[in-house]
């Protein structure tokens, strides 16, 4: 057997073959409006004309009612913790060091939660119903991204009862 053939018999059990994914995001009217306002340091949602719930980020339609949303609603920097998890393992491709708290947050005036970081608090103090506030980066760093908010921090306000979080006031 030649040396070349011997070499070919070395077992190959796997080769790394990375996949890269870049894509152009077509935001659509509602999300484009939302991202434009985020770049100005403001959170805006849209109200469903049928169920009256306010969506953030607005996607142009209410997934519950199946109708278009057009009425814009400016939302507060304050929010309530709907639920949360303390993550002890790293997110692939994200520089945040564990353990850190990611929370499902319902901003005042909205009826659905989004994910964001909680910080400047003890992890063991975080609870459902806790009141928090957005900490924005310096305005010079604002872009079309929710990363304009560094994280949320607790504020000295009474907890919201769990049953009321994200619910319409008159419902």
């Amino acid at each position: 057997m030649s040396d070349a053939n011997k070499e070919a018999l070395e077992p190959i059990t796997g080769i790394e073959s990375p996949v890269y994914l870049d894509y152009n995001f077509t935001a659509g009217q509602a999300t484009a409006r939302y991202l434009t306002k985020v770049k100005e340091g403001k959170l805006v949602g849209q109200r469903c004309p049928s169920c009256r719930n306010v969506y953030i980020p607005p996607r142009g339609a209410c997934a519950a009612c199946g109708v278009a949303t057009t009425e814009e609603v400016e939302l507060s920097n304050k929010a309530t913790v709907q639920s949360f998890t303390i993550v002890h393992i790293p997110i692939p491709g994200n520089p945040i060091k564990p353990p850190y708290v990611i929370a499902n947050l319902v901003p005042d005036g909205a009826n659905i939660s989004f994910l964001h970081l909680l910080s400047e608090c003890k992890n063991e103090d975080v609870r459902i119903g806790m009141r928090v506030e957005a900490q924005w980066k310096d305005a010079s760093e604002w872009t079309y991204a929710m990363e304009n908010i560094k994280y949320f921090t607790p504020i000295d306000e009474p907890d919201v009862p769990a049953e009321e979080i994200g619910r319409l006031k008159d419902a």
Binding site: T31, L35, Q82, S83, T85, H88, M146, G166
Partner: protein, 387 residues
């Protein structure tokens, strides 16, 4: 009226961290051949092939069905690929069954798989979205807050999740195909395992597995000629809902409740805990057992964790309604196949062919799968008798 259909062959690979010596094509072919052998059939006896797997992003292989036609004997035959995220194993089985029930095909081979050792599911499930901050921390990061809300509402003690983690691993120790083999696992060991996504611990979470599962589904006439006992499909249902909408009930999604009602009505089940002999339910994180016990109507709202703690779902505790006798997703998780394994293990039970994890005299069993942001549901009920 649809035609009757039955499972006449089941094939599974061993589930393990890495199948180093086979390609994805080899893995699916291994399961497919075992299913054909179990049914005492050959490739020529198959009219069509229905394949399923979880998102292509996992292995980074886009449209793998193109490359698998050869390995699955599809030359000259219809082939179809199904995708509904983590529930895909279940919905693939239902699509295959539907083609037989409709009379379109007489005998179908259906196969699902995942080769997680060639994939990075954590990365694939943590993609940045342009309208939200990049914090998606895999499936556990998504489900942990929902589990926390279940615990808040029900005031369930943390023991309930730990008990499921132990119970399913003891079940898995009876099943030689199960990935995790932990016959000596204890409550203390689970409790002391590292937190991953609080309140979820390492040992309360499913492993990453390689593996494939296949079934042959045949119409009534052909199933009657089958050498081994068929598992008759007595009901099958699927439901979906959006991942996010205002007012969504995330702890016990409506689509799951509706799907269960539908499949029970088809199978003539009025009390699932009493009427069914066992269930294979998609429980990737321990707390999903008590949550699904309620969602699927085995327990009253807020009471699922009590059934778990009482041992009602445990073979070892001689429970009245054993769940996941095979060890479930907590023992083996080749994601794309995990739903079909539930369906196939339900069928093994009613065929009386479940080996050391057999429930004595099982006549009626539920197979369940869910996927996406708990937005896709697939369920079937299989029986040892036609009706």
């Amino acid at each position: 009226m649809a035609e009757l259909a039955a499972v006449v062959g089941i094939g599974q690979t061993k589930y393990q961290t890495k199948h180093k010596t086979v390609s994805i094509a080899g893995l699916v072919r291994d399961a497919a051949l075992k299913a054909l052998q179990d049914a005492e059939l050959t490739w020529d006896d198959i009219d069509a092939v229905i394949v399923g797997k979880a998102p292509d992003m996992f292995e980074g292989m886009i449209m793998p069905e193109l490359y698998l036609t050869d390995a699955l004997g599809c030359n000259g035959k219809p082939m179809l690929r199904v995708h509904t995220a983590g529930s895909v194993g279940g919905s693939t089985a239902i699509v295959a069954a539907s083609y037989v029930q409709s009379g379109m095909f007489k005998r179908i081979l259906t196969v699902t798989y995942e080769k997680q050792s060639e994939s990075n599911a954590m990365w694939a499930l943590s993609n940045a979205q342009p309208f939200s901050v990049h914090l998606n921390a895999g499936a556990g990061g998504f489900f942990a807050p929902i589990i926390r809300e279940y615990m808040r509402r029900t005031k369930a003690p943390s023991d309930a999740g730990i008990k499921v983690a132990v119970k399913d691993r003891l079940h898995g120790a009876r099943n030689p195909l199960a990935h995790l083999q932990l016959p000596n696992i204890t409550m203390k060991e689970v409790e002391e395992s590292p937190m991953l996504w609080e309140p979820l611990r390492f040992l309360e979470s499913c492993p990453s597995s390689d593996g494939a599962c296949a079934m042959v589904i045949a119409n009534e006439e052909l199933a009657a000629q089958s050498p081994k006992k068929p598992a008759w499909i007595r009901g099958a249902a699927m439901r979906s809902e959006p991942t996010m909408y205002a007012g969504r009930e995330e702890v016990s999604p409506q689509a799951g409740i509706d799907c269960a009602k539908d499949v029970y009505a088809q199978a003539g089940i009025s009390n699932p805990r009493k009427d069914l002999d066992c269930a294979e339910v998609y429980v990737p994180f321990s707390w999903y057992e008590p949550m699904w016990l309620e969602n699927l109507g085995f327990a009253e709202k807020g009471e699922g964790w009590k059934l778990t703690l009482e041992g009602a779902t445990s073979l070892d505790d001689k429970g009245d309604i054993p769940w996941n006798c095979s060890g479930g997703v907590l023992c083996s998780n080749p994601i794309g196949a995990s739903g079909m394994i539930r369906f196939a293990e339900a069928a093994r039970q009613v065929r009386g062919d479940a080996g050391n994890h057999q429930v004595d005299g099982a006549k009626l069993a539920l197979g369940h799968a869910y996927g996406g942001g708990a937005q896709f549901y697939a369920m079937w009920v299989v029986g040892s008798e036609k009706a």
